[in-house]
Amino acid sequence: MRARRIWSQFDLGLFCAVVLLSGAGLIGLYSSAAADGSTSGLFLRQALWLTLGMLACLVALSVDYHFLVDRAFLLYGLTLITLAVVLVFGTEIHGSRSWIRVAGLGFQPSEFAKLALILALARYLSELGTNYLQRKHLLALAGITLGPVVLVAMQGDLGTALTYFPIMVGTVLVAGLRTRFLIGVLILTLLVAPLAWFTLKDYQKQRILVTFDPDLDPQGVGYQTKQSLIAIGSGGITGKGLGNGLQSQLGFVPEIHSDFIFSLLAEEWGLLGGCLILALYLYALLRLVSVGESARDRAGILIVTGVASLLSFHVAVNLGMTLGIMPAIGIPLPLLSYGGSSTLSFYLALGLVLNVHSRRFVYSDNLIDLGAISRG
């Protein structure tokens, strides 16, 4: 009975938007495989990951999110331990020791840490009961966030470590800061940012500068950005057609399967295809806000906030990079880029959101359990 009620509240629109985006990613992978037989394996593997992702999404939907929030600190602790273990025993790929191999598949625990962080922040804030945060609360939140950030940064994966901050920033803003606090933080940021500049390594500075002038480094970082812009710009309104994106297919655009998949799609599908993808993301994000607004408790709101912050940050940074308005930071485009752990973790996050949505009218804890779902 209750299980059926959960399903009747399933947010089909959000789910469809996510699946459509994944489909676009698959088509992109397929298209890039057409020119060069070596990547057709990626297409099949990504299809496998997507299937796993949808299953994971259903699992995340079935368990009442309160059950997870109750155990958020336990999950958080286990995550930190896993990250530490990977740091020592993990496999190094592309310079970051962030991989473990399970059953022939490579996993990046740092992707799943995002979910643990979302749950941990939601748990902490939902218990406060205050309407505005105080300094000690902020310090605690920063502490919770810095745990995985430090470990993942030590693994050498700065891009992923960076993605934990927007989760905290988003939840903190929603949890409420007094105006003077907000202004204080802004001023502090403005002061610290120039100082941070001097702590950056040369290649990191270069990446930021190149965003504003690709010709600074036409062979390196600038080359990537420039080729991406040429790919997108030469696509025109309707694009060059599936499999005809020469800029991308011929290997001008680097990392075409992961970080620069949007360049390929925009080149082949043109402005129309690109706008369709943007519209799907915007729709998904707006749906997330609506789900958050309708959630029945703070934990639910905060979970949705964390997911929305994470998703929007990824989309903004990745698309900003491919469109040449943000520094080149190698983080994937959610749901479109090739990547197993990333796909799985976004589908798990989607599951959490659908979970919150489905239980917005339910006024009791642990109303259902897994057994009920499977019987229903």
Binding site: I230, G236, G251
Partner: protein, 619 residues
């Protein structure tokens, strides 16, 4: 836990995210619109100017070495003209340019373009291989006018000794449409070079390196801006053959202008030291493209240079077959050491006269003497007693009529006739009279030189070796399997005694004699037409039907180290043309052996002495 909380503040602040998201997407869409509408012309032009050319990098094939590490096949670099089709697939203007500037036939070039029609436009088409210096100079001078043309440096197979051992080493060539469909070549693409013949074909995978490709960024004038991946493709693995270049060269030189084959191998290991077939061909001619004329020349040659006569052609074994008949007689107990026959030069069997080659007759001869003098009469009678099926059984025991499964393709099986075989192929029963000519190695029995050599190996050691051309460790093959023939050592010893006499005591094999190296052997002369037909022909015409000459042998008699088989087509008699060739090889082998490791003096002294006494006792 379900405490009621006032969430209104949370919900209000969450709502602001809508504004943030909307702004963010407005910005992104605006940027997308700006790039693909406002800057469309600009980026389209850049995209057109931007070319990545994929240049296939052909990995050099592994070296092929002889047993002493001398290079038989290596790589040398040549320059090819490549055409990039992406802008202009018909290439009409380009072909006109090449016709006017260099006088190249546009039709031939057009053919090449058509052959590549189904391939990706981004794979360049090779228009011409092995450009001359003049051609390169001309093309470089016009480089900026013709950005679609580029010159590639590519490794090409170079066979240092030309036609020497060409049938064993083989050659490489462009993969054919049919070969592309085979599973063995599934990673190959049109235009790739593969081993087509010989060792090059058998060990193609071993010798092939990993072809790679290099992507280079070129501007609209075809000028290379930068290379994107520069790792050179890994070279193929080297392969050491069992061939001894010195022996091989001696064999081919000894055969000279004659057609024929020489096989020499170590009966203990099965390692082939010489595998010669004449006439030969120059495998370097195949390394690029062979013109139709060149092909036809090779195909039309009546001596068939492309045929490896050592293993692809079959011949009657002639008198060599008497060795097998003798063994069969001994093993079946039909004859023993003492059984003798009186030869008066001819005999009438089944109402037909059968002649001995010595029309005066050999007188009374034992089995050993009959083999030594190659008396036909003795073997007519022995063959008659044994019958065709027992002859066939023993032929198979020494491996006749069966391929040796040497590591070269296209080996012929030969034929050992049986009654059942005749019934099956002609529908007629086997007539006993037919056995008579088979008993002296004429008639339907057919063998390859390598098979016959292996059979002599069995006589020499009592074991059937697995012949091979590649050093095992080098090709990663399993260790050889040796099969015991199951022949009685005492019987083998008798046959060896006879073979020793053939070479060393007034026999037909005198030409193969080597001092201090106890060669044993047997000659054979194979009629290509019957005596009666020959007598009807004019002298000039009869020359075309000069008999084939055989010599097979091994040395030394005890602990044999080398087996040699020589076939000279239309060579006349085995004694005059084949035996001396074998002699040269035995002698050279012996000399090399003495040079590299002088044998124990006690052994060399004892050898000839003991033999002399034994030989004397035999007479």
């Amino acid at each position: 836990m379900a405490i009621y909380q006032d969430n209104r503040g949370y919900i209000d602040r969450l709502g602001w995210l809508r504004v943030l998201f909307a702004a963010m997407f407005l910005l992104l869409m605006g940027r997308l619109w700006y790039l693909s509408i406002i800057r469309f012309e600009y980026f389209s032009k850049l995209a057109e100017e931007n070319h990545v050319r994929t240049i296939p990098l052909v990995a050099p094939r592994g070296l092929i070495l002889d047993r002493e590490g001398r290079v038989l096949a290596e790589n040398r670099y040549g320059f090819d003209l490549a055409f990039f089709r992406e802008e202009d697939p018909d290439a009409a203007a380009t072909l006109r340019f090449l016709d006017q500037g260099l006088g190249w036939d546009p039709e031939a070039l057009q053919e090449r373009l058509q052959a590549a029609a189904g391939q990706s436009l981004y794979r360049p088409v090779i228009l011409k291989e092995n450009l001359s210096l003049d051609e390169i100079a001309y093309l470089l001078a016009h480089r900026t006018e013709r950005p679609e043309l580029d010159i590639f440096k590519r490794p090409r197979r170079d066979y240092r000794y030309g036609g020497l051992a060409a049938h064993s080493i083989g050659y490489v060539g462009e993969i054919s449409r049919e070969e592309l469909l085979l599973e063995a070549y599934e990673d190959k693409r049109p235009g790739d070079l593969i081993g087509k013949y010989g060792i090059e074909k058998t060990y193609n995978r071993h010798l092939t390196g990993a072809d790679g490709q290099q992507r280079v960024l070129v501007d609209s004038r075809g000028k290379t801006l930068e290379g994107l991946d520069l790792a050179p493709p890994p070279e193929g693995r080297p392969l050491t053959l069992t061939i001894d270049l010195d022996l091989q060269a001696a064999a081919e030189e000894a055969l000279g202008e004659d057609s024929g084959a020489v096989v020499a191998f170590d009966p203990n290991s099965g390692e082939i030291l010489t595998l010669a077939s004449k006439p030969s061909f120059d495998p370097n001619r195949f390394a690029g493209r062979l013109s139709l004329d060149e092909w036809n020349q090779l195909l039309d040659n009546p001596d068939d240079p492309l045929q490896n006569k050592a293993l692809q052609s079959t011949f009657s074994p002639g008198s060599i077959y008497k060795i097998v008949v003798a063994l069969a007689g001994l093993e079946k107990g039909v004859v023993d050491e003492k059984t003798s026959v009186y030869c008066n030069g001819s005999i009438i069997l089944y109402g037909h006269p059968f002649r001995c080659w010595n029309s005066g007759g050999h007188g009374r001869v034992t089995l050993v003497e009959a083999l030594q003098h190659s008396c036909n009469i003795y073997f007519y009678l022995l063959g008659q007693k044994l019958g065709i099926d027992q002859l066939a059984e023993f032929s198979s025991r020494v491996g006749l009529g069966q391929p040796t499964r040497v590591d070269l393709a296209g080996e012929a099986a030969g034929l050992v006739p049986t009654a059942a075989w005749k019934k099956k192929t002609t529908g007629h029963p086997w007539y006993a009279g037919e056995t008579i000519s088979v008993a002296i190695g004429q008639g339907p029995v057919n063998v390859t030189p390598i098979q016959l050599a292996r059979a002599i190996g069995v006589v020499a050691t009592g074991k059937m070796p697995q012949l091979h051309l590649s050093m095992r460790e080098s090709a990663g093959r399993p260790s050889q399997t040796e099969v015991l023939s199951g022949l009685e050592p005492q019987h083998l010893k008798l046959v060896r005694e006879a073979m020793w006499r053939v070479v060393n005591l007034q026999g037909t094999g005198y030409g193969a004699r080597v001092n201090g190296f106890d060669v044993c052997g047997k000659t054979g002369t194979v009629q290509t037409i019957s005596q009666s037909t020959r007598s009807k022909l004019s002298k000039r015409k009869a020359e075309g039907y000069t008999p084939h000459a055989w010599f097979v042998g091994f040395a030394p008699r005890d602990n044999p180290q080398l087996v040699v088989a020589v076939l000279v087509q239309r060579g006349g008699s085995g004694a005059s043309s084949a035996a001396p060739i074998a002699g040269r090889i035995f002698r050279l082998f012996r000399e090399k052996q003495l040079e590299s490791a002088p044998p124990d003096p006690a052994l060399t002294q004892a050898g000839p002495d003991s033999r002399a006494t034994r030989a004397g006792g035999g007479h």
